[in-house]
């Protein structure tokens, strides 16, 4: 491990030397295959898919399957997020197919196509907290309860937030973005098609408790912990100001590692499961730079 001087010494350091040190420390946490995230993404989807035959055949009661499905949706985003940043493998590498497999499959319960997530997420990184260009700026809210209320309001049919990702893709205007838009349309129609078909074959309750309600609850959770909390108050701009570290009441696992989201924005290719260790190693540097680290 690279030795990091104390905060006072770091503050006195030449800016270029500090940059080099920061990068050297961060580099220690990159690389390798994040098997945990791969197993998480594919395993989570397998569990969620298995709930359908298990409940429809009567082997598993719906009251057990419902909370499992909620958990599945909550867990479905982050493995895809690793793939979005090419953490599993980069284009041209032998395991790039696995990166894309995890990316495409893991967000199926969330009805968020991989390419839509990837392109809009890159825009979020590039324009974090920009009131116009950050596609996730709509999750900004004054406090935790307002964040939950805002998340529900954003899903109302008349909400302008409904078009935030579509507007972002239109702004990008590339063939890739157009394809992603078509994938979003297909995913939405497919999702509704499944719900309608299940409902009209006498399985509306199963569809409601395995997908419709879990998705609403899961989206609320994801918007709260993955978008609102790490960027709150959503006003800071720039590399060391647009995200923060925070101590979550539900801990690191309950907040899915988002306490250390500042590390992700600084070094997006550090795997999620290594961000706590990377944060601890980088903390004096971040403190010296005046980052918002709360009491973590």
């Amino acid at each position: 491990m690279v030795a990091v001087p104390d905060v006072a010494a770091l503050r006195a350091m030449d800016p270029r030397a500090l940059n080099r040190l920061e990068k050297t420390v961060a580099d220690q946490f990159m690389g390798g295959l994040p098997w945990g995230s791969i197993a998480w993404g594919l395993g989570n989807l397998a569990v969620w898919l298995s709930l359908w035959p298990l409940t429809l055949s009567g082997l598993l009661p719906l009251w057990i399957a419902f909370p499992v499905a909620i958990l599945n949706v909550m867990l479905s985003y982050l493995p895809s997020h690793e793939a979005q940043h090419r953490i599993i493998a980069r284009e041209g590498e032998p395991l790039f197919w696995l990166n894309e497999l995890v990316g495409y499959l893991s967000t199926i319960p969330l009805v968020l196509p991989y390419q839509v997530a990837r392109l809009t997420h890159y825009e979020h990184h590039t324009h974090c907290n920009d009131p116009v260009l950050d596609p996730d700026i709509g999750t900004k809210a004054a406090g935790p309860w307002q964040s939950i209320a805002n998340s529900i309001a954003r899903r109302q049919p008349g909400s302008t937030a409904q078009s935030a990702y579509g507007d972002c893709l239109a702004r990008l205007g590339t063939p890739e973005a157009q394809t992603a838009g078509l994938q979003a349309l297909a995913a939405q129609l497919g999702y509704l098609g499944v719900l309608f078909a299940m409902a009209w074959t006498g399985h509306a309750l199963e569809a409601a408790l395995l997908w419709w309600l879990p998705r609403h609850i899961g989206v609320t959770y994801i918007e709260f912990f993955l978008s609102w909390a790490p960027h709150h108050p959503g006003t800071g701009r720039g590399r060391y100001r647009d995200t923060r570290a925070f101590r979550s009441a539900v801990g690191n696992i309950g907040s899915m590692g988002m306490q250390f989201h500042i590390v992700h924005h600084l070094y997006p290719r550090i795997p999620l499961m290594r961000t706590p260790a990377a944060y601890r190693a980088l903390r004096p540097i971040l403190e010296a730079r005046g980052c918002d680290l709360e009491k973590l």
């Binding site: 049919p157 719900l195 309750l205 419709w212």
Partner: protein, 64 residues
């Protein structure tokens, strides 16, 4: 195509009310053992509730 899809998504809450909420309400009524008045089928009640809710959501832009 764009116009068709635009129109479809504009009235999607109504379609969702009829296509999903209606049968869902009917299934819940049946599970609860509640017999609708005037000999109405649970699905008919579900379609009225789902359709009305979806229609209001189209007009107001809000489910809740």
């Amino acid at each position: 195509m764009r116009r068709i899809l635009g129109g479809l998504f504009r009235i999607m809450p109504l379609l969702f009310g009829l296509g999903f909420l209606g049968p869902l309400v009917a299934q819940l009524l049946t599970l609860a053992g509640w017999a609708p008045p005037w000999g109405l089928a649970p699905l008919a009640v579900g379609m009225v509730i789902g359709g009305a809710w979806g229609g209001v959501a189209v007009l107001t832009g809000r489910w809740l």
